[in-house]
Symmetry: C2
């Protein structure tokens, strides 16, 4: 897995199986992370910021698999596994473009997405079948091509005894809501709003720090009630799912635009950070109250779990709710997304659909991705 932030490659080695009752099981064997090489970050950033043409895009598409190959071999090495004993690799690729909302071109409504890092090249280098290009097929069926992790949540975290919400706090926060003993068509999954995006942007711009380490900065401030009310009504949060958002909306511009609207008070930077953190927790909780179940157990993953102040705010917002972290369920928080695409590859190879239409909005369930043979 390589995320849109172009910062690293995550490799998960896992085993999947289906038992006699049709229940899917996973076993985490290894999680390995590597920094994204400087040269790739440079070329990739240029592509994403629309500055590159087909020459650089094609080169990146062929170049990136050499690093995937290297990272996978390193993970195998650490786990004491021969690469040629791997059954299959799932490779998400580097998202270089994602525009799921259709645009009219010559009478056709065309949405588009593009993940770079050729599955064909990786399969030949590694000598193992590779599944890649997971998002195009769902988009072709009028889905958003995202979120795709809900199938992992549904198969492995649905409980017979309790309703659960899988909450991932990355830059943006998203949830998968799994009613107790639910069928797949009852799964809901959507972005709730900001995750770390606003907190990180404020830490960067007000304190020159990449993030608010464990919420220490925010803890020094007080919630500014006027700003809090402004933020609550700034849009998105009350929209009905399915819905998705991104850093093109929840960014520093969003913060400064809203801070400018304050009339009666003058918050400090600490106060603003405290307010943003509370707002982030509230926006997650409010979506759960409106569109899921505030009494469901919440299982949290993503970088947000390392901000104890944000987690405290979240617990305060949902006093009836047990908040747990995914690390207690056999997956480290940082490995979850990579595990998800390993599992999606497994499903594709086995001829099972990977998308959940109630989450992506696609017309139907479909087998995701392309298969490249070694």
């Amino acid at each position: 897995m390589t995320g849109t932030s172009l910062d690293g490659i995550d490799v998960v080695i896992a085993e999947f199986s289906i038992d006699g009752t049709g229940h899917h099981n996973f076993k985490m064997i290894k999680h390995h992370s590597e920094d994204y090489p400087e040269v790739l970050n440079k070329i990739g950033s240029s592509i994403i910021s629309l500055k590159s043409n087909i020459r650089d895009i094609a080169k990146f598409h062929h170049f990136l698999p050499y690093f995937y190959d290297k990272a996978i071999r390193q993970a195998c090495n650490e786990a004491g596994i021969q690469t040629n004993t791997l059954d299959l690799v799932g490779s998400h690729g580097q998202t270089a473009w994602h525009a799921p909302d259709p645009e009219l071109i010559d009478g056709f409504n065309i949405a588009s997405t593009m993940q770079l890092g050729s599955p064909s090249v990786l399969a030949k280098l590694l000598g193992v079948p590779v599944v890649g290009d997971f998002r195009s097929g769902d988009i072709a069926l009028n889905g958003q091509g995202a979120p795709l992790i809900p199938i992992l949540d549904f198969e492995f975290f649905t409980s017979e005894n309790e309703s659960r919400i899988l909450l991932n706090i990355g830059g943006i926060a998203n949830i998968t809501y799994l009613p107790m003993a639910c069928q797949i068509d009852k799964v809901k999954a959507f972005d709730t709003g900001p995750g770390n995006a606003l907190i990180d942007a404020a830490a960067k711009n007000y304190f020159d720090q990449n993030y608010d380490d464990d919420g220490k900065l925010a803890r020094q401030g007080k919630v500014n009630n006027e700003l809090f009310e402004i933020l609550k009504n700034s849009g998105y949060i009350f929209n009905k799912p399915p819905k998705s958002t991104g850093k093109e909306f929840f960014n520093f511009q969003f913060i400064s635009d809203n801070v400018r609207k304050i009339n009666s008070s003058e918050p400090t930077y600490f106060d603003i950070l405290a307010t943003l953190t509370n707002f982030t927790a509230w926006s997650i909780a409010e979506n759960i109250r409106l569109f899921a179940d505030p009494k469901a157990k919440i299982i949290v993953s993503g970088g947000g779990i390392y901000n104890s102040f944000l987690m405290d705010c979240l617990r305060k917002e949902l006093p009836l709710t047990k908040v747990d972290i995914i690390d207690n369920y056999g997956v480290s928080s940082k490995a979850k997304e990579a595990l998800g695409f390993a599992y999606l590859a497994y499903r594709t190879f086995a001829g099972m659909h990977g998308n959940i239409p109630s989450a992506t909005g696609a017309d139907r369930e479909t087998i995701l991705g392309v298969i490249a043979l070694p």
Copy 2:
């Protein structure tokens, strides 16, 4: 099949089978051609000429399959076949970039190629499995990713009774040499030099015509011997195979540069065209004499067969050789390449290699392409 000239979409419906002796058979059911839509030509040309970024490239990648889908449905309709009875579609895609010679990037030798027109999207639209991206895997194994048609030539045109040469005269001319009853490692395939490229360029620049219709212009001229000798020694023709060339070398610049070297005589435009046509025929024949077998039967395909003067010149150059056209072997000349990629898809789905290492230069035989399921 869509070629690099962005001028049309060729659809072939065919049946393939393997008989009890392991012999592969094909049956042509339908050939259907469509002009490339204006809007695609415009976006595609911009991409190929390095003027587009990832946004337009991703859109084209998702947009093009809608036209493939339409063309395939039209072909099925004409043949009285339901699309959902198709087993499989092979889709070459639009070549937007092809640079098989490696370039050093950060310590890695990286060659690259990119065919646009998402197999995932086409599979979902059509409801049929699609094989695409045929060239990347061969390139990852240090091959040229081309030529890929030789496997079709080998399986269907190898004879127990005679040596054969499959000659395709497109813009560039290429041959597949099949010694009598040969094994696959004895197949040779390479570009011989110009096909119609020089003739077309001269017709365009000297006579404002897109091509020399049936060689009528060239027939009005006389061969200029000095120019003929200059052309013979202008490079490429005597290079040893495997080798490939393109219109970046054999173009109008090549013509005018060589015409400028003439000292003693002043050829008319008709004379230049006559000389270029003779040179084209000679370059094909000389490659056959040097690197194949001048007594092998030649089976010709491609636009060149419609220039009877070029064909006459070729027969004069190879007086001992029987020159036939592929239309006499169950494939129309215009359908051959599309048939080739249908067959390559069949091979991929059946787990059979598609490349011939002695033709592409790849390290080994490999299953080409990616498979997208509906």
